[in-house]
């Protein structure tokens, strides 16, 4: 086994036992990146030399606590002081923040090593990473397929073993869907569990930073570092952060798991349904109580999401006006034209589409019919979950309705593309934590199972996911990238 193949917890172990140094780890990953990155194209910016320098310092300091000496990648809309943060947009092609995101500061504090910034759909608007202004990322399992999105670069980088973990963001499924497509574990925490400060927002009421890793234990390790209160984000809640790692071993005995019938309709592939049902059987064998339930408003989550998220985005992306940072059109001779031409030129098609949609949904005469209506539907969706969680601990569903599709297949058809998020979006609408873990393969492509819990019950999700992982082999499957 190569060093780059090791998960976080084993690298940590080897560092602590003095078997290897951090510099050796970074060198191994640098080597791996040089072999596969040309095919996968997961990174927008790479800084192996910077990581190497940091690694040398960590080795010198010793004491490999936390994630010290472990390399990682960051979705390129998480701000890094001194390192380009592009959001995969021409708008921010040369933007170098003068601040770190809160989560980046946390990772620096634990002395993890930033290897680079991963690709995404421009401003996180997409489900395939084809909407990056720079290049599409490819699925390591099948290079002609998408890795999912918008955290596609992060999922692909972990899947291709270019870094042992990445941070991504999830607004409507942007961590879980690419995790499912790339056969890795992806955790979307409770809304309010992780600070959003320094993370370029898509839809502020839905966005959440989370982890992509090879397995549940790694996820728990990284999550322990980034979770917790930030007084600089008023939507980041001051609640205790439990010890996620030591809770892993508690198993699923007696845990009540619901599976909503609507999530096994909604145009979900038969293979996926079968794989998840088989996984549910497994959980039952391990002692969980598994029952069918209904989340009746599920099918309305996606249309409501496609009003709320663009509405928020239309305001969030308004600040890109060319004045203080980012691209500026220099032809315009007055400021109104400068704004419009800057934005018209530097935003990509999907971003413009969503800004237009959101602006329309908020505009005079349409607010009630679109935006307000969607807020009301959001209430219905959230109450559906409340009702189920009154009697159950977890909800299990497929993560995506289909396996990863061929690059370019849905470019002309946004709605079919949007449908990819149909099983993940309701979770964001309700602000719940959820995780996608590998649960099978179909025609050589990975499939994901989604585990959802009550607010702030990430520990229970990981406990169940870990039990499943310990008793199955899906998580150890990896793509065979020819080198």
């Amino acid at each position: 086994m190569n060093l780059w193949d090791f998960p976080v917890y084993l690298l940590q172990h080897k560092l602590q036992s003095g078997e290897i140094s951090s510099v050796e780890i970074v060198r191994a990953f640098r080597e791996r990146i040089s072999q596969v990155e040309g095919k996968v194209k997961a990174f927008i910016t790479l800084d192996e030399e910077g990581a190497l320098r940091e690694a040398a310092r960590v080795d010198q300091e010793g004491g490999y606590t936390g994630l010290a000496g472990i390399p990682y990648g960051l979705k390129d809309l998480i701000c890094t002081r001194g390192m380009k943060t592009t959001c995969a947009s021409r708008m921010l092609e040369d933007f170098i923040p003068v601040y770190d995101a809160f989560v980046v500061a946390k990772l620096r504090e634990t002395r993890a090593l930033l290897m680079g910034k991963t690709n995404l759909d421009e401003f996180a608007m997409g489900s395939s990473t084809e909407q990056s202004a720079f290049f599409p990322t490819r699925n390591p399992w099948a290079l002609d397929r998408v890795p999912g999105g918008s955290s596609g670069g992060s999922a692909a980088a972990v899947s291709a073993r270019e870094v042992p973990f990445c941070l991504g963001t999830d607004t409507g499924g942007s961590i879980r869907q690419p995790a499912a497509y790339c056969g890795v574990v992806g955790l979307k925490p409770t809304y309010g569990r992780v600070s959003r400060r320094g993370v370029v927002p898509y839809a502020s009421s839905l966005d959440q930073v989370g982890v992509l890793a090879q397995n549940v234990r790694d996820c728990a390790l990284v999550f322990s570092i980034i979770a917790g209160h930030d007084p600089g984000d008023t939507t980041c809640v001051n609640v205790p952060v439990p010890d996620f790692v030591s809770a892993l071993d508690e198993g699923v005995k007696g845990i009540k798991i619901a599976y909503p019938r609507e999530y096994f309709a909604l145009g979900v592939d038969e293979e996926i349904k079968a794989a998840v049902m088989k996984s549910l059987k497994k959980l039952e064998e391990l002692g969980a109580i598994v029952e069918e339930v209904s989340l009746p408003h599920s099918e309305y989550a996606l249309p409501a999401y496609y009003l709320l998220a663009p509405a928020e985005a239309s305001a969030n992306l308004a600040r890109f006006d060319g004045v203080r940072y980012g691209y500026r059109d220099l032809e315009a001779d007055n400021v109104i034209d400068m704004f419009a031409q800057t934005r018209g030129t530097a935003f990509g098609a999907e971003v413009k589409r969503r800004i237009m949609l959101g602006t329309y949904a908020l505009s005079s005469g349409y607010y009630d019919a679109y935006y307000l209506k969607a807020l009301k539907v959001r209430r219905l969706i959230s109450s559906d979950f409340d009702k189920v969680f009154a009697s159950y601990d977890l909800i299990v569903t497929p993560t995506t309705p289909t396996p990863p599709f061929i690059i370019g297949a849905h470019v002309e058809d946004p709605i079919t593309l949007y449908m990819n998020d149909i099983l993940t979006v309701p979770v964001n609408m309700a602000g719940l934590p959820a995780m996608s873990i590998p649960c099978g393969l179909t025609r050589g492509l990975p499939l994901g199972m989604q585990i959802i819990a009550k607010p702030f019950a990430e520990s229970l999700i990981m406990q169940a996911a870990y039990a499943f992982e310990q008793n199955t082999e899906y998580h150890s499957m990896k793509p065979e990238l020819e080198v």
Partner: protein
């Protein structure tokens, strides 16, 4: 089509987006199809439903009224070349 080209132009104006003629046409088609899709929400009677604006049951998060000096101006303004005398420079307003 739910939207016509005039409405697209109006919305693009509000959003300060210059669109090329072919982009406008595409916008008419795509936005219309999305708006048709979201019309599905009208199947639901939501008259008595309270809109959900904040998902967290949290309120009153404040900071104390304490000051910190502003960021070093050179650093703050290092993200643009369009500046003069410590101020951002923009084309004329009218």
């Amino acid at each position: 089509m739910v939207l016509n080209i005039k409405e697209v132009e109006h919305v693009a104006g509000l959003a300060r987006l210059t669109l090329k003629p072919e982009e406008k046409k595409e916008m008419v088609a795509r936005l219309s199809s999305i708006l048709n899709y979201v019309d599905k929400l009208n199947e639901l009677d939501t008259d008595k439903v309270e809109p959900l604006t904040h998902i967290l049951p949290v309120n009153n998060v404040f900071r104390e009224d304490k000051t910190e000096p502003g960021m070093d101006r050179e650093l703050l303004m290092s993200s643009t070349d369009m500046k003069e005398d410590g101020q951002y420079k923009v084309p004329k307003i009218m």
